[in-house]
């Protein structure tokens, strides 16, 4: 089976609200152009297209269909779509290239979270019989998860504020970030609770955005970019949805995915998809990341969380570390579902 590499990445600015449509076209057109320009590829060179998005985020059935207008999808394209974060679309494209059927793929994700009230839309991911009819929202559920760790002594509110402060400081170097800057831990802790025990800085912002990744067989990748990021492992797992039956302070699915993907001590940089500060700490443990690993140099999703593109963007940000020669071995992580239910881990290495 042929190896697969990331050879291109672009993302739309992470913003609180775009005036664009929910089909993502306005965000996608410029970033498709950006990756084509960077890789020298054109639409006709792409063997497979795969996207990730959500009808409920858009408020419409089949909302992903008009996104393909941004491609200019005629003559017809070889294409698929997952109703998941586009990080899982990367997985599907990775399969296609491995089989040898194609040797290039473009993967994209988009979401306009501002079209509705995100924390309430995400309620619909919960059990539709005994949980969702009560309308618990995604932030309240994360608060319950955070408190379990606080009271078990796994982390403190100060630990959480430190994650937020570091993310914002790193995001200052990320031109696409929505939230960034230098903040004092004490100031963060002085802020009122938004969903006790969570404060505003513990919660990823509501973001409109899109991202696109270009994949190629490792063989083809050499011709396209100087430093392709070869995917040496990509795995994903899912945990039980029953919030009251899981140990919410752990992420067994992330742990299992990391183990299967071959995460080792040599990882230099990790881009984690942690929409809440405490979830970064859960993930660090689950993925076995030591203190020497630089977590989220991009600022992570606490500085911009475009739903259904954010996990894909973690892979892109991690790959960028290799494109730019800043690291030789990186980890990317994506999550989906309530309280870190589903997790994907990829390891990328310089060729």
């Amino acid at each position: 089976m042929q190896d697969v590499a990331v050879v291109g990445f672009a993302q739309a600015p992470n913003v609180r609200r775009t005036s664009g449509t929910t089909n993502g076209v306005e965000m996608l057109v410029p970033i498709f152009a950006e990756v084509f320009s960077a890789t020298g590829l054109a639409k006709k060179d792409i063997g497979f297209w795969c996207s990730g998005s959500s009808d409920y985020l858009a408020g419409r059935a089949f909302s992903f269909i008009s996104a393909i207008d941004a491609i200019g999808a005629f003559p017809p394209i070889h294409e698929s779509h997952v109703e998941m974060d586009a990080a899982w679309a990367v997985y599907e494209a990775w399969l296609k290239i491995r089989t040898g059927e194609v040797d290039t793929a473009v993967v994209y994700g988009f979401g306009k979270s501002s079209a509705s009230q995100l924390r309430r839309v995400l309620t619909l991911q919960l059990d539709p019989y005994t949980v969702a009819p009560l309308w618990p929202d995604s932030i309240s559920i994360a608060g319950i998860q955070a408190r379990l760790g606080l009271e078990a002594g796994l982390w403190t509110e100060k630990d959480l504020a430190e994650v937020a402060a570091r993310s914002r400081a790193d995001a200052a170097h990320n031109p696409h970030a929505q939230v960034s800057g230098t903040v004092a831990i004490t100031d963060l802790l002085d802020a009122p609770y938004l969903a006790d025990p969570l404060r505003a800085h513990d919660i990823a912002p509501v973001t409109d955005g899109a991202a696109v990744l270009v994949l190629a067989s490792a063989e083809r990748a050499k011709d396209l970019v100087d430093r392709p990021a070869v995917i040496t492992g990509i795995e994903h797992r899912v945990d039980s949805p029953v919030l009251g039956a899981r140990d919410l302070t752990r992420a067994p699915s992330a742990e299992a995915a990391a183990k299967a993907a071959g995460v080792s001590a040599e990882v230099e940089v990790a881009e984690l998809h942690a929409p809440f500060t405490h979830q970064e700490l859960i993930l660090r443990t689950a993925l076995g990341l030591g203190d020497r690993v630089h977590v989220n140099p991009s600022g992570g999703v606490l500085s911009g969380n475009p739903m259904f593109a954010a996990g894909l963007a973690r892979i892109g940000e991690a790959a960028t570390q290799i494109f730019t020669g800043k690291a030789r071995r990186v980890l990317a992580h994506a999550t989906s579902g309530p309280a870190l239910q589903q997790n994907l881990v990829a390891v990328l290495e310089a060729a």
């Binding site: 419409r60 992903f64 017809p76 899982w88 040898g100």
Partner: protein
């Protein structure tokens, strides 16, 4: 190392009904999954990954329902993927599951697709009119009826061909114990007497709205070799997409479908589909799509698909039995309808199609389409391993 061989080890489906109020969503899925696993003779420990497909989440009012279904579908601790490619999703889902095996990642993958339409109302979900639009659209029937009119005009097909398809598929459905509609008494006259819903489409020429699910276990070459009586070997797969609307788009005979079919036959080594394919399960939600897809798939020249239908050659016993299971016209759990086509094709070459078995079927086509005739997925399965 090239693409690995993959095969269908077993299939299962629910009894499809307008309202399966006797089961929850988990219960509905398990009815199909349990049958597929029994048919494939596998246990949960044998399953490496699960791939789930369904059409829009608005149908059930659950966002990404695979998340809450994780325990029920045995996915906990395993890889779980969710595919959504509109009406073609059941087929695309099967193809993603197949690619997990073809890429050498897994040995046995469970794939399942479902729709529980009775949780809401598909006409409602499909007819939500965003602001600023003209509220003319009227569900899937309203969408496709003008294109059926175009086909009739373009091909000069006689008006009774659509009714003939309905009679054939519903009678075939009566042979299928899982079928939603089982109309042994249906006649050309009764179809033509049924109400005109979206002129030129009559009531009896439209698919029902069903609750249902379909599942398959797909395995690698060793797993396929171990199937008593033989599995359904996957000979070729294809998917193509084009935009919903564009200037000069051929909505009757879409290029994406033609391209997918051409790629499919090429990979399968088939040069004359009509003589080399023994049975076809084609996604026909409105009767006229049988002749339309016969042309789009290359079984018949453009404008002549209706001639095969009119000659009775698509009936059981004909030259190319189309939808021997009864097809979408007999059962339509939207998200599962495509996978049912793929599974029924597999059943034919495995010799497990019961009363609607096509004698000696060795090569069969499974086909699905979705959106505005713009998403196509298809596979060819065979009783023997593909020539390599």
């Amino acid at each position: 190392m090239a693409k690995q061989l993959a095969a269908v080890l077993g299939t299962g489906q629910t009894h499809h009904r307008a309202k399966r109020t006797d089961v929850s969503m988990p219960g509905l899925l398990r009815e199909a999954i349990d049958r597929a696993m029994a048919d494939a003779r596998v246990e949960w420990a044998d399953i490496d990954a699960i791939v789930l497909g369904k059409a829009p989440d608005l149908f059930e009012g659950v966002m990404m329902p695979e998340l809450f279904l994780t325990d029920s579908i045995g996915a906990t601790g395993k890889p779980l993927l969710r595919v959504h490619t509109a009406g073609s999703v059941g087929g695309s889902t099967a193809l993603v599951a197949a690619s997990l095996v073809q890429a050498g990642v897994h040995r046995r993958v469970l794939t399942v697709a479902f729709e529980k339409q009775s949780e809401s109302n598909a006409m409602w979900a499909l007819s939500i009119i965003p602001p600023f639009q003209m509220p003319v659209s009227a569900g899937a029937g309203g969408y496709f009826a003008p294109h059926v009119r175009s086909y009739i005009r373009r091909s000069g097909a006689p008006g009774h061909v659509g009714a003939m398809v309905a009679v054939k598929d519903r009678r075939n459905g009566a042979l299928n114990p899982y079928s939603h509609l089982r109309q042994t008494d249906i006649t050309l006259e009764s179809v033509q007497a049924s109400q005109m819903l979206w002129d030129p489409i009559r009531y009896d020429e439209t698919c029902p709205s069903s609750d249902g699910a379909c599942a398959m276990v797909i395995g690698d070459e060793a797993a396929g070799d171990a199937v008593a009586g033989g599995p359904a070997w996957i000979h070729a797969t294809a998917m193509r997409t084009e935009p919903t609307t564009f200037a000069g788009r051929d909505q009757v005979n879409p290029q994406a479908g033609k391209d997918a079919a051409a790629a499919l036959w090429r990979e399968a080594g088939i040069t004359n589909p009509l003589s080399e394919v023994d049975a076809a399960e084609i996604y026909v939600p409105f009767s006229w799509f049988e002749p339309m897809w016969l042309e789009n798939l290359g079984f018949m020249p453009e404008g002549e698909g209706w001639k095969l239908t009119e000659a009775g050659e698509t009936a059981l016993g004909g030259r190319l039995p189309v939808n021997p299971s009864g097809g979408v016209l007999s059962s339509n759990p939207i998200g599962a309808s495509g996978m049912l086509r793929f599974a029924e094709a597999a059943k034919q070459v495995m010799g497990r199609a019961g009363d609607y078995q096509v004698d000696g079927a060795r090569i069969a086509l499974g086909h699905a389409y979705g959106g505005g005739s713009q998403y196509f997925s298809m596979w060819v399965v065979g009783s023997a391993k593909p020539a390599r």
